[in-house]
């Protein structure tokens, strides 16, 4: 398996798609720092703590934060390094040659999965390091140990989320014979999770609990709660919630209704949670993502092992 892993990793690192995605991710990182430097003054004045984390979370009125970029980038990277893992081998006539070598069949899929995950982790960690490094240099406030812990948790969560997309893309690459179909299927699913689940959730919530400008707070909270529950079908939302809570110690609850209260109460000083409490808050989300990634990989593993190589 190690041989397959090493070869795939080398291939990926030399590939054009790696260069392309790495440049894009770096651009996003630099842009995020620029944004942070522009807006951090306004953001920090309200609370003096956790200045360093603000680099990652501040957004301006017109431009989204670094977190938003990351949450778009990770699925794309995951799909890019998984969608043609198996079907490309099949199409190029490599698969039967590879399978006739004295290695177990699963070492091929394991090696490929780990190689994709390694590339993804590399990009994620580099980007966080670039943002952190540049931010440190420009704003000059060093992170304290708690902030470092939160950043590590952020990186790990991102890698888990990426693992889900890699596993999903590999599942499609096992199921579809053409690389183009598997990429389209993966992108379609991503769009569904990223955009449509929100729309559907909003529509269902409005149908169940219609609200207008005169609605009571109770109704609005109820609407938000339904919406929040439906949104949690989407791994994108799970990830979004996790990293927001991990990087924003002030968030004390992920219950949409309670979050609204905290928005309303934003005038007051909120007591930030410590790291373990934040981690506890998002633990269910993280576990669900691990489970999703495991399930996707398990299905593709079994399908690949059972798949017969047929005479065409």
């Amino acid at each position: 398996m190690y041989t397959v892993f090493r070869k795939e990793l080398a291939d990926y690192l030399e590939s054009k798609r790696f260069a392309m995605l790495f440049i894009l991710a770096t651009m996003a990182a630099v842009f995020a720092v620029y944004l942070a430097v522009q807006n951090i003054r306004g953001a920090v004045s309200s609370s003096s703590e956790f200045v360093f984390l603000k680099i990652f979370t501040v957004s301006s009125e017109t431009l989204p934060s670094f977190l938003f970029f990351v949450s778009i980038f990770i699925p794309i990277i995951g799909i890019a390094f998984g969608f043609d893992a198996i079907n490309n081998e099949r199409a190029s006539g490599n698969l039967s040659r590879l399978l006739s070598q004295p290695i177990y069949r699963d070492s091929i899929i394991n090696g490929k999965f780990l190689a994709s995950l390694a590339v993804l982790s590399f990009i994620v960690v580099s980007v966080i390091a670039i943002v952190g490094g540049l931010g440190l240099r420009i704003i000059g406030v060093p992170p304290d140990s708690e902030e470092v812990l939160r950043l590590i948790a952020f990186a790990l969560t991102s890698i888990i989320y990426g693992a889900f997309w890699v596993a999903l893309a590999i599942l499609f690459s096992v199921s579809f014979n053409r690389a183009a179909s598997s990429m389209l299927a993966a992108l379609a699913l991503w769009m569904f999770f990223f955009f449509f689940v929100y729309m559907i959730a909003g529509a269902i919530a409005d149908a169940r609990v219609p609200i207008d400008s005169n609605s009571s707070f109770e109704m609005i909270a109820k609407n938000a709660e339904i919406q929040g529950m439906i949104n949690r079908i989407s791994p994108c939302n799970l990830y979004g919630e996790s990293i927001l809570a991990l990087l924003t110690p002030e968030i004390a609850s992920l219950n949409p209704a309670l979050m609204m209260i905290s928005v309303i109460a934003a005038g007051r000083m909120l007591t930030p949670l410590n790291f373990t409490q934040s981690l506890l808050l998002v633990w269910p989300q993280i576990v669900t993502m691990v489970a999703l990634a495991t399930i996707c990989f398990a299905i593709s593993y079994v399908r690949f092992i059972k798949q017969e190589i047929r005479a065409t």
Binding site: T3, S92, S96, S100, Q101, P102, I103, E308, R310, A311
Partner: protein, 308 residues
């Protein structure tokens, strides 16, 4: 009698109700070049995949050098080289890197692999282009690279699936020579092809598969006699004068079944190879023997006859 390399008994494969291979019994020994023939869709590739263990048989058993490919895949894959019909390589790597990867997958030590790859590249005549990306190589070169690729593991058995399809005559020549060389080194070869004259040139034995059945199997000349001449030898002779006396005398030779002829040539059907007796008889009867030829059967004729 060499060691048995392939032994299958009642090997069958059914895909969704369609029988691709039906009760196949093969027995192939060390050092043989076994030509595996049959029209498209006859089940040749499926059989090869079952021999390798890439496809599980629906029923029946396979033994490769005493191992069951389904149960002990690694033991089988360590000794079997498979060259698929549309062989592919990693296009972004060069020829040498592709072979290095195969060597690594076969757990060859680096230094040993380096030497071996050099030798193999020059054996298959690719030393000049081994640093070029595979996508720049021609079809024939890729096929030769494929042969080098299966040679890396020092196989005992090699399965070649249409190794000469789509290749120019020179390339075909190279591949046939390489195949023959492999057999000379004691490697057993299963050569699957539609190119009957190529098979006839290098194969010691052939099996013809049609719709999953093995319809004929054996040495080409024996198959020819069985399929075309009803199991008889046919000897054609040319003599100075054909006369009834000679025909009658020939008919009396033990084993001769029929004598037909005209003007100067006679066609003799007999149960065994009677060339010696016949030539003696002609010389003793004061006739002069101008030519004698035992009929050889082209594989093509056999193939057509068997499949019709």
């Amino acid at each position: 009698m060499g060691q048995v390399v392939i032994e299958t008994s009642d090997l069958s494969k059914t895909y969704d109700g369609f029988t691709a291979v039906d009760k196949l019994n093969l027995h192939i020994e060390e050092g043989e070049i076994f030509g595996f023939l049959g029209p498209n869709g006859a089940g040749k590739t499926t059989t090869m995949l079952m021999l390798l263990g890439l496809t599980a048989p629906s029923s029946g058993t396979v033994q490769i050098c005493g191992h069951d490919p389904g149960r002990e895949p690694l033991e089988v894959k360590r000794v079997v080289g498979y060259l698929p019909e549309k062989v592919g390589f990693y296009e972004n790597l060069n020829a040498r890197q592709n072979l290095e990867y195969t060597a690594e997958l076969n757990n060859l030590p680096k230094r040993e692999a380096f030497e071996k790859i050099n030798n193999l590249l020059s054996t298959v005549g690719l030393s000049q282009v081994c640093d070029q990306e595979v996508k720049k190589l021609s079809r024939g070169m890729k096929q030769r690279l494929g042969i080098a690729d299966i040679w890396i593991k020092d196989p005992k058995l090699v399965l070649l699936d249409e190794p000469t399809s789509g290749i120019d005559p020179e390339g075909i020549e190279d591949i046939l020579t390489l195949t023959a060389n492999m057999a000379r080194k004691g490697i057993t070869v299963v050569f699957c092809s539609h190119q009957l004259h190529q098979v006839q040139r290098i194969c010691t034995r052939v099996g013809i598969l049609n719709k999953g059945h093995l319809v004929a199997e054996g040495q080409i000349d024996r198959l020819g006699r069985e399929a075309i001449a009803g199991g008889r030898y046919r000897i054609e002779i040319q003599v100075a004068q054909v006369n009834q006396k000679l025909v009658d005398a020939l008919k009396l030779v033990e084993g001769v079944v029929d004598v037909q002829g005209s003007a100067e040539t006679l066609l003799i059907s007999c149960d065994k190879d009677l060339r010696e007796q016949i030539s003696k008889l002609i010389v003793e009867s004061d006739n002069s023997l101008l030519g004698m030829k035992i009929e050889e059967y082209s594989l093509e004729a056999v193939y057509k006859e068997v499949l019709s």
